[in-house]
């Protein structure tokens, strides 16, 4: 039996340094290695690259060593699975490039699997199912209600490119959807791999992550700052969701209670 893929799962853990070549050739080699590892180490029987985005952090210095982490898994309409993976290309001084890839893969027939639901939508932050679960958690969270008691608006986060709009009014969470009717007051963009780190770190490291510039906000800067504690509380709830849903490395299944007041 091979395990299912899950966000937080590390790939290319034992990968050797890449052969010298162009940056694009290195990216292609990484994609090929990931495809092979996904098929060999999960219950997917295929894995085809459907998108790739290469971000150069600075001039590349060889040799490069790749590592990677699964950031989202989402069942698609054709009974297949979309797997999103971020690969890091490290040189002697750290991460020189970030490669974000998406694969689509086929799963075996249900009879060949030993579990009824191979991939839950909870494994994809920003999916319809994930949004619904976050809505439930936030609606039951009295601390979060207190933090939005004087707020009439929509907080936006974007996780790995998927928008999540959290519409609030007087302490109530009205909806958590991909797009609220009037949009969001602000959107905090969190790359998929950064979100995985937030889900799997020992403590909620939202503020540290923001301070080192790994997340970027757009829209109303005033409302973004005003909602600082609310955003931290959203991450608390998302961490509990991740622990329950089986993100690899997520160990928090109850909502933490570190609060300002």
């Amino acid at each position: 039996m091979t395990p299912p893929l899950a966000p937080g799962q590390r790939l290319l853990a034992a990968a050797p340094a890449l052969a010298p070549g162009s940056t694009l050739a290195s990216a292609d080699a990484v994609a090929t290695a990931l495809r092979t590892e996904i098929i060999d180490s999960s219950d997917l029987v295929s894995a085809d690259v459907v998108s790739a985005h290469l971000e150069l952090k600075r001039p590349i210095a060889e040799p490069l060593t790749p590592t990677a982490v699964v950031t989202a898994i989402l069942p698609d309409r054709d009974a297949g699975v979309r797997a999103e993976v971020t690969a890091y290309l490290d040189d002697d001084t750290g991460v020189a490039a970030v490669l974000r890839l998406a694969f689509t893969g086929a799963v075996p027939d249900a009879g060949a699997l030993d579990r009824p639901d191979p991939y839950s939508g909870l494994l994809c932050p920003g999916s319809r199912e994930w949004n619904a679960e976050l809505h439930r958690l936030l609606s039951e969270d009295e601390s979060f209600a207190g933090l939005i008691e004087s707020y009439d608006g929509t907080l936006g986060i974007s996780i790995g490119g998927r928008p999540v709009h959290i519409r609030c009014y007087r302490g109530q969470v009205l909806e958590v959807v991909a797009r609220a009717i009037k949009g969001a007051d602000f959107v905090l963009d969190i790359p998929g791999e950064v979100f995985v780190d937030l889900m799997t770190s020992g403590d909620n490291s939202f503020m540290e992550t923001a301070m080192v510039g790994k997340m970027r906000s757009a829209g109303s800067g005033y409302e973004y700052l005003r909602m600082t504690s609310a955003l931290i509380r959203i991450i608390d709830n998302a961490r509990a969701l991740a622990g329950t849903a089986g993100y690899v490395g997520a160990h928090t299944t109850s909502i933490e209670t570190q609060q300002v007041a």
Binding site: E208, L225, T228
Partner: protein, 296 residues
């Protein structure tokens, strides 16, 4: 000058000796300035400087321990901080002004030669004092600071001098302080430090940070005569430890120490801060050679 004297019991984790604390209310540039004065008045004077927006209370857990180790610990509140009145001309955005203020405090207390310890803006002011105080300064311990202008948005900080531009200030101070406290610090202590830091005047804090961004004393590093140690914590997100290390190398009798598991506030985070400072000062005063250490 008004001087109050009281006797207090140290609450620090290592010392339990009864220590004398004197409190001075000086008049500097026409405004009251509050200064704590711990320990034997004949002991080695040690000037302890606080961080942006904060006050001498940051040394409350360690001053008595330092006094017990043989120092007369002088802890001023900079203008507009703690119990000191604001400067007559308004919030200070020039850290050199704080350096002059610190020397005036020492002058009024009839202290000539001294050791300086400071953190963050207090660390940068300590480096400034090492440049400007000449033979008066015996040794300098500058923590969580380099000599060049700090990486802050002067424009953003200036905009936030207008209160309407800076929502949830206390929340952000609380969470932002927690974020730069080291991994070696307990959760209880981390929360207490962050809570205490919320006792700030935002206008004063922002002005301090503008000074942090503007003040550049790099050119003066080769002229520093006293032995100087620059200290960086592993978990300090505010500074670039490598840049601090390079600054130390530019000081003739400079050295660098890296603190694993410690963040931006060593005097509030380290349970053995007083003994560590004592060790640093003894090492500095005994050595003419620059050294580099990592504390285990």
């Amino acid at each position: 000058m008004t001087t109050l004297t009281e006797t207090t019991q140290s609450t620090g984790p290592t010392a339990s000796a009864v220590t004398t604390l004197r409190a001075h209310q000086l008049v500097i540039d026409g405004r009251f300035a509050f200064v704590e004065d711990w320990g034997d008045i004949h002991a080695t004077p040690l000037l302890a400087l606080h961080t942006a927006g904060q006050s001498g209370v940051q040394y409350a857990h360690v001053a008595a321990d330092l006094a017990a180790l043989g120092y007369r610990v002088i802890v001023p509140d900079f203008p507009g901080h703690g119990r000191s009145e604001p400067a007559a001309h308004g919030p200070v955005t020039d850290l050199g002004e704080y350096a002059r203020f610190a020397l005036t405090v020492l002058d009024q207390l009839d202290i000539d030669r001294f050791v300086a310890v400071g953190c963050s803006i207090g660390g940068k002011i300590t480096i400034d004092l090492a440049v400007r105080a000449g033979s008066r300064i015996r040794a300098a311990v500058a923590m969580a600071a380099g000599a060049s202008g700090g990486h802050v948005s002067i424009r953003g900080l200036t905009r936030e001098l207008n209160d309407i531009s800076t929502p949830s200030r206390s929340d952000r101070t609380y969470w932002g302080t927690r974020a730069v406290i080291g991994s070696a610090v307990s959760e209880e202590r981390r929360s207490l430090i962050a809570r205490m830091h919320c006792r700030e005047d935002p206008i004063i804090s922002n002005s301090d940070l503008i000074g942090w961004g503007r003040h550049d004393i790099t050119a003066g590093l080769p002229d520093i005569a006293c032995p100087t140690i620059l200290v960086a914590g592993e978990d300090d997100l505010w500074i670039d430890a490598e840049a601090v290390r390079r600054d130390a190398a530019s000081i003739p009798r400079g050295s660098f120490t890296f603190l694993p598991g410690i963040g931006h506030y060593p005097m509030e985070e380290m349970t053995d801060f007083a003994s560590q400072v004592d060790a640093w000062v003894r090492t500095l005063e005994a050595s003419d050679e620059g050294t580099e250490t990592t504390r285990s």
